[in-house]
Assembly symmetry: C2
Homo-oligomer: 330 residues x 2
């Protein structure tokens, strides 16, 4: 019997995570700390730059390696490589870097169906990797921030166990509208604060957004301090945890802590040979979300997050090597 | 006193190496051997592909890493990183990958001044890296093969101690004309056979070219066998050494041998943790050429070549990490 349309299962069955964010190709180059400060950059942070500034910074960098990136996109890749089903929603242009991004995310099994923008350039992030493995990022968003609510597939978003959103999407107006629209239809919202400077720029709005929509909030210490508007971490956590069901604070080599109504859990960092911290937070979120999708408790979720982060920081680039644990399923 | 034009030294003083060849950006992805054979590729070789075949092969590859490549360009980078002065002559397009190529080669101090082609695409090489670190390459040349004799700067070529040419440039007609024109004006010509299949395709022409122009010839065992048209390496070497002043045979983990009128020298391979053999021959040539420019004997040149090759095969990509020996000058 010929296959009829009714025989084809709907694509949106059992999607673990739909991630919405910037479609970005990273340009990574080992860079001495002097160059970072000479260029007026703040080590460890992300900054949006216009194309002329991007040209100037690029000229100051050594030879680069291009690899797909983008916070939420990295998380989607992590979810897929950990055995989950994931989709990514973001905007590339119809150019060479857009084709690279599209290839790389589909190659690991992440669904990605947003049509490319006919004009403009795909977003690019200049990642200066310091000798101590910290990364300093200068992002030229291109069309990435142009993802508009009309680009969203409401059924796809509704069908996911988790919709994962990145704080970086708060900067461009179209992206922000898409982020809010996605949160409004999601069954459960996970949100990453992305960057302390960003939290500072949009503090009041982000506070209200988290309060209204976010179930699971990820932030590192600096980001949680910025959202709590205090220099005291305990005080910041006490304030911020009131916003959402679960708050996860990632603490680099000190591990992570999970604060929820079930109590607090602290988990040490997984051992790692640190080469480049790019993507650590994104992959932590992937591991944690897979744990939640599988019904695991907070400690186990945090452990999975830590293992995924440890694997990605052991190599250059924001996405893990599919052939190493915990991403290889052998 | 204000600086006058006469105070500015001419740019073409003391150039060690001008390398002429394909301007290429590599797309590297770890790939199981089954995929390579399923796609009808011969492991360890390079093949030229049209854009539709490149699309099919790319779709079969896992997530990639983009890094600048191109045989002669890699050699120029190696020469610069080893402290020599180098220029590269090749053609990129006015596109994103062309900008990546241009940035990366200039960032290590290699001169590169050929204007980009206004149309077309920059060349791309799909590099499938096998679990045993061998690489299989499918090259979509784009505008790389369009470098025409009118693009050549005769004064630049004349001013170099060595003009280094790659065999891959024999395939496209414009490139071949540029290769011959470069050899005609050079004070000394070094030539890499590039690929055994290429030597087979153009055997008679390459034999005549080497006989007429080449002073220093680089080939691996398979390439020298192909040029000698025999299965016996000793016999091949005996035939091929008659073509040029110096023949260098690279033999992977068995090291290299140099045959010249001063006698034969065999040098063992430098110890290496092999991750990806892409670029090994190109960097060997860089080390050897730097040795020749510094007036070293054949053994010392071969040792420098082996050290440079060992450094590049210890990492993914065809160009060395500028921060590791022998490329770091500390």
């Amino acid at each position: 019997m010929a296959e009829t349309e009714a025989d084809v299962p709907p694509v949106n069955v059992a999607i673990d995570v739909v991630a919405v964010g910037n479609a970005i190709v990273d340009v990574l180059a080992p860079t001495p700390d002097e160059v970072i400060s000479d260029q007026g950059l703040v080590k460890g942070t992300m900054r949006l730059v216009e194309s002329d500034e991007a040209e100037r910074l690029y000229a100051a960098m050594g030879p680069g390696t291009e690899m797909s990136g983008g916070g939420a996109a990295n998380t989607a890749v992590g979810v897929a490589l950990l055995g989950g089903s994931a989709h990514f929603v973001g905007k590339v242009a119809d150019d060479q870097l857009g084709k690279v991004f599209t290839h790389d995310i589909r190659a690991v099994g992440v669904g990605f169906d947003v049509p490319p923008a006919p004009h403009g350039s795909t977003g690019r992030c200049l990642v200066m990797v310091s000798p101590d493995a910290q990364r300093t990022m200068s992002t030229s968003l291109g069309v990435a921030g142009d993802l508009a609510p009309k680009d969203l597939d409401e059924e796809l978003l509704k069908s996911a166990s988790w919709v994962f959103l990145e704080g970086y999407f708060w900067d461009p107006p179209a992206a922000r509208a898409s982020l809010i629209a996605s949160a409004q239809v999601a069954s459960a919202v996970a949100f990453s604060l992305s960057d302390p400077l960003l939290v500072g720029r949009h503090h009041q709005d982000l506070w209200a957004f988290c309060d209204a929509y976010v179930d699971l909030l990820f932030g590192n210490e600096d980001e949680v301090l910025a959202l709590g508007q205090t220099d005291d971490l305990a005080e910041a956590i006490a304030k911020v945890r009131s916003l959402c069901e679960t708050l996860v604070v990632t603490r680099s080599e000190k591990g992570s802590m999970v604060a929820s109504s079930d109590g607090d859990v602290e988990v040490p960092a997984a051992p790692a040979q640190v080469v480049d911290t790019t993507g650590a937070g994104d992959l932590y979120a992937a591991g944690f979300l897979i744990g939640r999708c599988r019904g695991l408790d907070a400690r186990r979720c945090a452990e999975l997050g830590g293992q995924a982060a440890a694997a990605v920081i052991a190599r250059l680039g924001a996405r893990p090597d599919p052939s190493v644990p915990p991403f290889s399923r052998q």
